[in-house]
């Protein structure tokens, strides 16, 4: 039997255009960093020139419909580089150094990133199995409260993590039960989970800790300094000294989850079930059982992110303390195209720009408030400029009905 003819895949000669686009993007990137430490060019001129060149090249690339996104990116980056460079050149060198102390930015960026990593990994696992998990926020919040509660009651941060994860897993189980057995609309169920979690944690918090809040003497998830890293310049101050155990765990989990999804039998099956449950079931896979496990694990992971927030970073619990982080994690899932590595990139972009946003107050107290929007603006630009359309697991959100 011969291979069926398909249209040949020869591309029109567009490769140079792509090169131009990439080159322009790189130029724009250089224009960005010239005025920042460690280079610290004290005049805006080179950046402006580079920015204009990048924008011009980008405009040329824009005309090719196939490389519109790349061109747009180059134009955008190039144009933004100009005011950025002007602003930096006008600031005192000391101020600029103070804001862009990269090691410190990385260190505090990691604290923003950590809960998001856990949340995003949880989201990926759930959605890859075909269950949309809007409830990440609520599951994370459960981890926040029960992590603290567990650490307090058991006098052990490790048990705090376990209990926090169990609480999140329990909520995941509820979501799974409604989504899978009761064929609930998963968005609705997830939204409910979020409301429920705020109420439940608030209720238990008041009932348990009353007006005084959580005690200040909890066993907290410790920070660890890695002996070798400690002494390396730049890396040392950034991550070597005193990075939380859970941050390391989170970073480690990214390749682990990736490997699980794409290199193991269970991962292959999970993805198959999330794409075409009916097809998966015709080869004998257990759709419902797999999804149960996935959603529960998802809740547990998100909850560990919550434990990091409460018992790792803050050392205390507060009402609704996740403050939208679960939704940011959800955005990271989509941003990262349901891939752990992509999601890590998204959470890093978000975390580091959050960290930077606080430091930017050094330039202007009044504008400092506006700078707080930086991570959100950057994420929006990055998603629009780089990601574009992303394709969810085909069966995500659709109740699976087995006759």
């Amino acid at each position: 039997m011969t291979v069926t003819a398909t249209p040949s895949t020869v591309r029109s000669p567009a490769i140079p255009i792509q090169r131009i686009g990439l080159g322009a993007t790189v130029l724009a990137g250089i224009a960005w960093i010239l005025t920042l430490p460690p280079i610290m060019v004290r005049t805006a001129v080179p950046s402006i020139v580079l920015g204009i060149v990048a924008a011009a090249l980008g405009t040329a690339v824009l005309r090719d419909p196939k490389h519109r996104r790349l061109g747009g990116l180059a134009v955008g980056l190039g144009l933004i580089a100009i005011p950025l460079a002007l602003a930096m050149a006008n600031q005192s060198a000391a101020n600029v150094r103070e804001v862009f102390t990269w090691s410190a930015v990385i260190a505090s960026g990691l604290t923003f990133t950590t809960p998001l990593i856990f949340g995003a990994l949880g989201g990926i696992i759930s959605e890859r199995s075909g269950v949309v998990n809007i409830g990440l926020e609520g599951m994370m919040l459960m981890g926040c409260y029960f992590g603290i509660f567990g650490a307090d009651v058991c006098h052990s941060w490790l048990l705090g993590i376990v209990i926090g994860a169990a609480a999140g897993g329990l909520l995941g189980l509820v979501h799974a039960y409604f989504s899978l057995h009761l064929r609930a609309n998963q968005v609705v169920s997830g939204t409910a989970i979020n409301l429920l979690a705020v109420g439940l944690t608030g209720y238990f918090f008041i009932a348990q800790y009353g007006d005084n809040g959580t005690p200040g003497t909890l066993p907290q998830v410790p920070n660890v300094s890695v002996p070798l890293l400690n002494h390396i310049a730049f890396v040392g101050p950034a991550i070597g000294a005193g990075t939380n155990v859970l941050t390391w765990v989170g970073l480690l989990l990214v390749p682990v989850v990736w490997w699980f999804l794409f290199r193991t039998r269970a991962g292959l099956r999970l993805r198959a079930i999330g794409e075409q449950p009916l097809a998966a079931s015709t080869v004998g896979l257990k759709v419902i059982a797999t999804r149960y496990v996935a959603v529960t694990v998802s809740g547990m992971l998100a909850a560990v992110g919550g434990v990091y927030l409460s018992d790792g970073f803050d050392g205390s619990f507060n009402f609704d303390m996740t403050d939208g982080r679960g939704f940011i994690a959800l955005a990271a899932v989509i941003f990262g195209k349901w891939n752990p590595v992509g999601a890590l990139g998204a959470t890093i972009l978000f975390g580091f720009s959050s960290a930077l946003a606080y430091r930017l107050q050094t330039f202007s107290q009044t504008l400092g408030t506006l700078f707080q929007a930086l991570p959100y603006v950057l994420t929006l630009i990055a998603v629009a400029g780089l990601i574009g359309r992303s394709r969810a697991p085909a069966a995500a959100g659709i109740p699976y009905v087995k006759e």
């Binding site: 200040g216 003497t217 107050q361 400092g368």
Partner: protein, 325 residues
């Protein structure tokens, strides 16, 4: 005591029938800030003055007017509103209940004008605090310690750029300068009074930039700043209430005795004293401002601090700034 402009003499009220209402701001009763302190004041008043008290926590903006109204409808003799967010709602409610007395914490009541008469309300008094004095005291302590330990930089974390926060910080910086003129100050705002992670991040930034003492002026959020100080082996300074219970890393706390002020305002009203259209000024002199427990490092400077406190009381130290540059 008290510098009310419109002080009025009134018939004293019998204790058992006196009703005190406290309407708190959004953020819950255990916000580690005003809400909590006002609530403590209510409890204290119940105990000391044998009155009936009720607390009405606010959970959304639509509660402001409604809660004040409810307290007034309940026949509360004095309704204490916690925080500047009540200024505008009070305008209407004070008109509707001209016979109910209202007090607003940390706000200048003489600026709340009746739109009809264009004059301050006779039934609203302000419970004002000279927080710059508390700030000055803890700043001075920080300066002394910095000088002794050769610290070059100290810092503060504000919850938001508002007068009640800035007066602390301005005082802190002035006090620090007075004790150690070479001292460098960092200051930043979290724009949040609840999310501890935010204040912790800011404090970490400051510590990374060399700050050895972190003064938190951000309520519950600020606990995160203290947490950062603890983790990074810097010193922390608490705010509003005495936060020394958190551990020995807290040098001391800058106090704003809202609880005392609430009790005092209640007692005054029971004795017929009400400063409608004016303010009860709570200061070092009245015991409404000051510093809290000193930890082991700060103890040695107790005498020097007492001296400064006396100087503030006597008016020798005056014109402490209230605005942060």
């Amino acid at each position: 005591f008290g510098a009310g402009t419109g002080s009025a003499k009134m018939k004293a009220t019998k204790a058992s029938s006196f009703k005190l209402g406290v309407v708190t701001d959004i953020g819950g009763l255990n916000d580690h800030g005003f809400n909590h302190l006002a609530y403590l004041g209510l409890k204290e008043a119940e105990k000391q003055l044998h009155i009936q008290g009720e607390v009405i926590p606010t959970s959304s903006a639509s509660d402001y007017v409604a809660n004040l109204t409810t307290a007034a409808q309940h026949g509360d003799n004095l309704v204490v509103a916690v925080g500047f967010d009540f200024a505008t709602p009070l305008v209407t409610v004070a008109q509707a209940f001209p016979n109910t007395k209202f007090a607003i914490i940390d706000y200048d009541a003489s600026t709340i004008l009746n739109p009809k008469t264009k004059k301050p309300f006779k039934n609203i008094e302000g419970l004002d605090f000279l927080s710059q004095q508390s700030g000055y005291l803890v700043g001075y302590l920080s300066g002394l310690i910095s000088k002794a330990k050769h610290y070059t930089t100290i810092s503060s974390v504000g919850g938001q750029k508002i007068p009640s926060v800035d007066s602390y910080i301005a005082g802190y910086q002035a006090g620090g300068k007075a004790a150690d003129p070479k001292l460098k100050f960092l200051n930043a705002y979290s724009n949040d009074f609840a999310d501890q992670a935010k204040c912790e991040t800011i404090a970490n930034n400051q510590i990374a930039q060399g700050s050895k003492i972190v003064f938190q002026v951000a309520g519950g959020c600020g606990l995160g700043a203290l947490q950062a100080a603890k983790q990074k082996h810097a010193w922390g300074i608490g705010v509003d209430a005495d936060q020394g219970y958190l551990g020995n890393y807290v040098l001391t706390s800058a106090l704003k005795k809202v609880d005392v002020a609430v009790v005092q305002a209640t007692r005054d009203l029971m004795h017929g004293k009400f400063y409608g259209g004016g303010n009860i000024i709570n200061s070092v002199k009245t015991g409404g401002a000051g510093y809290g427990r000193l930890n082991s490092v700060a103890k040695p400077y107790a005498a020097q601090l007492q001296k400064v406190l006396g100087e503030i009381k006597s008016g020798k130290i005056k014109n402490i700034p209230t605005k942060v540059k």
